[in-house]
Symmetry: C2
Subunit: 375 residues, 2 copies
Amino acid sequence: MELIKTTAGGGYTSFASGLPDPQLFPVDTLRALTDEVLTRDGRAALQYGPAEGYLPLRDYVAGLLRERGFAGVTAEHVLITTGSQQALDLAARALLDPGDLVALETPSYLAAVQAFDSYEAAYAPVPMDSAGMCPQALSSARGAKLLYTLPNFQNPSGLTLAGERREKLAAWSASNGLALLEDDAYHDLRYDGEALPPVAALAPNPWAIYTGTFSKVVAPGVRVGYLCAQPEVVRRLGELKQITDLHTGSLTQRVVFEYCRAGHLEPGIARLRAAYRPRREAMLSALETHLGGIAEWTPPAGGMFVFVSLSEGLNASRLLQRSLERRVVFVPGESFYPGPKRPKNTLRLNFVSAGEEAIAAGIRVLGDVVREALA
Amino acid sequence: MELIKTTAGGGYTSFASGLPDPQLFPVDTLRALTDEVLTRDGRAALQYGPAEGYLPLRDYVAGLLRERGFAGVTAEHVLITTGSQQALDLAARALLDPGDLVALETPSYLAAVQAFDSYEAAYAPVPMDSAGMCPQALSSARGAKLLYTLPNFQNPSGLTLAGERREKLAAWSASNGLALLEDDAYHDLRYDGEALPPVAALAPNPWAIYTGTFSKVVAPGVRVGYLCAQPEVVRRLGELKQITDLHTGSLTQRVVFEYCRAGHLEPGIARLRAAYRPRREAMLSALETHLGGIAEWTPPAGGMFVFVSLSEGLNASRLLQRSLERRVVFVPGESFYPGPKRPKNTLRLNFVSAGEEAIAAGIRVLGDVVREALA
């Protein structure tokens, strides 16, 4: 965040942000729909609403989730949240007591870890390889209260949990009595292959909580996310949500619902994929050209990020200083590791917020910086 | 909430809700402004934004707060929140550890008490008389960590803290090292007399947190509230806010800002006062006619509620059953009392959500129900 503030508007090529490309927001469609909602249903759209969310939107989300593999879920399995960040925070608030152990991928999503930190969680970091979290390493996480996973195009690693590992993770957490918190914020931003089933849909677990968001496929500024869980859990989290912010915006929930209902969601996702896929190609090709042989990365099948590991001796934070001088920004990977073991030789690159030429030019600078450090 | 769901659309006269009258929402103005914001600034209005809030809105709120008596406050003293409920929850989350004692008015705002409950607070209830919280009763609250007060037209009691008591409360909490959480959600809905200074502005207290909202004076469905505190506290609460929901809606913050900037706020408040004042008169006059001599209440100088105390032996929850049969709904006061001592003979009446004739007819029914119970 500080990095983004410092470099805002300074002519930087930013690989640092976690932001989608605002040029792709469906501004005109959302403007027309907002006008329609306020014209037709303005008083309800501006009034207080139920803590669990706007019922037609809950119902619509339930339909989306059934398509993703959650058989039989209905509106009562869905809680609308103020972005999926709130879903993560509510789940953590309901589930974690000080000292409770959270099993999670290393590295992991920073703002989730910060939420767990705020409830004084401890961590059982589970290593990943190119197929995501390693099930054979889970034995070290026995005794954990909660398993947190971001299985699709993980932020920051870009890694995707392989299908058979999803089965294992689901079965393991259910049979060991762990709550499961699955963060699927990037679900629809898949550029290769078929969607894999959510972990939470693969084994009955009364404490499985699955979170998603409209931030990446409609727009983040509307702050509409959701979670899916058993109805009793939704009720409990709904009570917590009520004391947290009463409810998510009545107007923006309706606008998102109308966007979906009018059939804009699928073509919008197709447009995003068509725009982001070549940027990923540009990033991977530039990495190959400028960092091939001196760094490692796993090509992401979707999402917004690629995670690069440099030679052991290199320090990404120090490289960032050099890189900043040449107007190229990235985030050192160090901050994404919970606990004391934080490799210093990794960095996260956002490949969606710059255009293809800027990506190529920026990665060339990064290549130069790394080569100079190695020299 | 359950009560509101049960009686929705059933031809009830509702004195139960906590809702403002949606007929008074500035729907057309907000529609025009939303269109303008999305036309001019759509991409930023739909993008992620800073956790602390949209800077021009923070700046505007700082100006409002200076007018209320907070000398010298600037944008950095202001955090924009998802309704003032979130401000209360963030303050409680930052300040309270399990077992910490909260001094507060009895009765008090239910959703604040529920937030404190969620952090396992204990309570030092301070009684009120017609001039609000009684300072002479504060000695019993020594040792409390936090003083929570809703000084203007309190929900549920409708009481207003007298000017000289504000001085005392401010000085007492500062000199005894208590954090001060002042909830001023109803500030602008004053129907008689001049505004009194906020308690938090009357004595330097590093942990004074003042909360307000646009829910009552613009519309609740936009979910835009705020808090005012020392910049270090704002930074700390901003970090907490970030893990809670990243930030409040970028679009709705801009719409609220434009509403204020274009000069709609003052005339909007004048319109609300002009509409709500005669409803209060209708309520007070009907109470006098139908419950005079058999119940007690303090006429509220503003806000949305009047709180009625019946004879000691009467049970408001039982009266509610009779009243529901005749299609009149209210909230028994019992639920607004923290701790085990909960008088059963009180009830809260919302006087803004029904028209004057409906108020008169509804209170007549209530009078009949009470008289029958006394007979």
